[in-house]
Symmetry: C2
DNA sequence: TTGAAAGCGGTACCAT
DNA sequence: ATGGTACCGCTTTCAA
């Protein structure tokens, strides 16, 4: 059983020609058998000999050669950025990936951190993906879209907050998050609202739109929004809590539950009553937020239809002519607990 | 400026032949120029014309064709499983990826969730990666290793708790985590120690070794270990906390900080004094654990040398003969706060 | 039922 | 300083 072959380093990779030779047939026949080609009839004994030879050699077809010949790949590229992917996204991609694999696509994540926009796009294009799904936090320019389509991508899909010219946009409008949070706070009578802006790099693509959404919602109600830069560190939170009185805020939307928990603890330590003096709202509906006292109010987010998305991609691949689709994936709702 | 070309759907992808035609040279020359081939001298005007033509057509080389010809790729494959990747791993991979890219490798994550072991391995092998880095939680059999090396992989590296025959093992021995936690508890005089076992699927590759490490450390000290199955849900924790008195434990290692926070809250709500009645230790050293009262004791984990790992891989690629390396990446240390 | 051969997009040797 | 061309591994007509 699989005793490691201590060959002199240079083990040559078996090709379909090797299989053919061993089975005593032509490469064509090997291809027919291994791909179960229905348009051609191969005798059972031959099929058997070919299969036998293949497993004996440990033959694995060469994807590059195959798709080179075919003129197209079934590769779906999923660039990933520097953003620490939260459980929500991870789950979403997991589903998407499963759905695409069911449709017989090869899904691959390509880490693009540290590449300039167009470098990254070129790198993706070299792989000749049939579809590219760009998550929020990675910027795709119209020019980038063009490079991709010109290199054969049938579907280019952005998940960012803004539709990109030429690409199909499945929008995740982060503004909704800010809007839900602030809406909730307004209903509960708050008017002077802080919005935490994480200082951590890479989060701006999320925090800026959330702030914008907060502003849009606050304005008509005559409420006031103050951005509050914050590091994800105890000292930073303590410092912010320290000057809380002079800020004169009666509520804060803390970007997400983690920043909310951090800030809430600091505020409590500084003697600020929650929700008495200041209401606190997070986002993500983490389990941990429910363990705090008071329990953390939050904005719950759901990503609709990862699976239909797989089918949408499949449709786009087959009918590339289609006009860009724009869809909103994000569903948000405020969850009232005790901190607001 | 990049007005979207509303072509009748079938835009043909430009090849090096197209570039050659437009520049009025041969394909060979195009290759020389675009790859800055030093072994051949091309006149400046020609170089210019070629570059001009390439950009004008939006030419991007075809990676598959290139590596088919070259006989090898520079692809490093990084299978990813169903396990919710924590920040520690994400950071580690980020670094590894950056390091490898600096060495001019193409790094790609391949989601293998829902594939049987050998299906997955075949799928990887089809891509003819030059190296494969298998994270913990994904099982690689010796047979799988053989398939990969036979298909041309020069370096197969496992990050799991157990070295795999034939592969280079960069071990992350999760037992250390349990050992550190229990060691800490023993020093503080605890003897009847519970170990939380998450019921969530996919965590067993981590939880089992941690339990084993706990047992190994407890035994010589005459301490007793009780596994405690727990769902990551408030009800499950409450239920466990409810029968805490009858368990007669004076300490618990809660798998990680998240489970620890969950359990600690439930215990407090059930009237169990922490650390008076029961000491609690988590793992991961999350910031959030420091916000609890009492502050959560934890096991800090560090993944040594992601960057040297990139260079190790590079070396392995160049000198494949090398005997399997086995190395321990994980550094753990207990951090005493207030919950123990 | 099977085989011979062309060709996918690049690269690199050998001529010119 | 350039061009012609064989070849990488695989699929797919077309012939036999």
């Amino acid at each position: 059983m699989s005793q490691l072959p201590k060959q002199p380093a240079e083990v040559s990779v078996p090709t379909s020609a090797d299989v053919a030779r061993l089975a005593g047939v032509s490469r064509a026949t090997v291809s027919y058998v291994l791909n179960n080609n229905a348009t051609v009839r191969i005798s059972e004994p031959t099929r058997h000999r070919v299969r036998e030879a293949a497993t004996q050699l440990g033959y694995v077809p060469h994807a590059a050669a195959r798709s080179l010949r075919a003129g197209h790949s079934r590769l779906v590229l999923l660039p990933s950025g520097h953003i620490p992917a939260g459980p929500l996204h991870q789950h979403f991609f997991q589903e998407l990936q499963a759905g695409l694999r069911r449709l017989d696509y090869t899904v691959v994540q390509y880490g693009s951190a540290g590449l300039a926009d167009d470098e990254a796009v070129r790198a993706w294009a070299e792989l000749r993906p049939v579809a590219v799904v760009v998550p929020p936090g990675i910027t795709l320019t119209p020019h980038g879209t063009e490079i991709l389509t010109r290199s054969g991508a049938k579907a280019v899909i952005t998940l960012g907050p803004e539709p990109v010219a030429g690409a199909h946009g499945l929008v995740m409008d982060q503004r909704q998050v800010g809007a839900s949070a602030v809406g909730h706070l307004l209903v509960r009578g708050r008017r002077r609202i802080g919005v935490v802006m994480p200082r951590e790099a890479g989060l701006t693509p999320f925090s800026e739109p959330r702030l914008a959404g907060a502003r849009q919602t606050a304005e008509p109600a005559g409420a006031h929004i103050s951005p509050l830069p914050l590091h994800y560190e105890e000292e930073s939170a303590a410092e912010l809590a320290h000057r809380w009185p002079e800020l004169g805020l009666d509520a804060v939307f803390a970007y997400n539950d983690e920043y909310a928990m951090l800030l809430m603890r600091a505020l409590q330590d500084a003697g600020v009553a929650i929700p008495g003096d200041t209401a606190v709202v997070g986002a993500d509906d983490l389990l941990l937020g429910r363990l705090l006292r008071p329990r953390l109010s939050t904005v719950r987010m759901e990503l609709a239809m990862p699976d239909p998305l797989a089918e949408t991609i499949d449709r786009l691949v087959h009918h590339p002519g289609t006009a860009p689709v724009h869809h909103d994936l994000l569903r948000t709702s405020a969850v009232h607990r005790e901190s607001s």
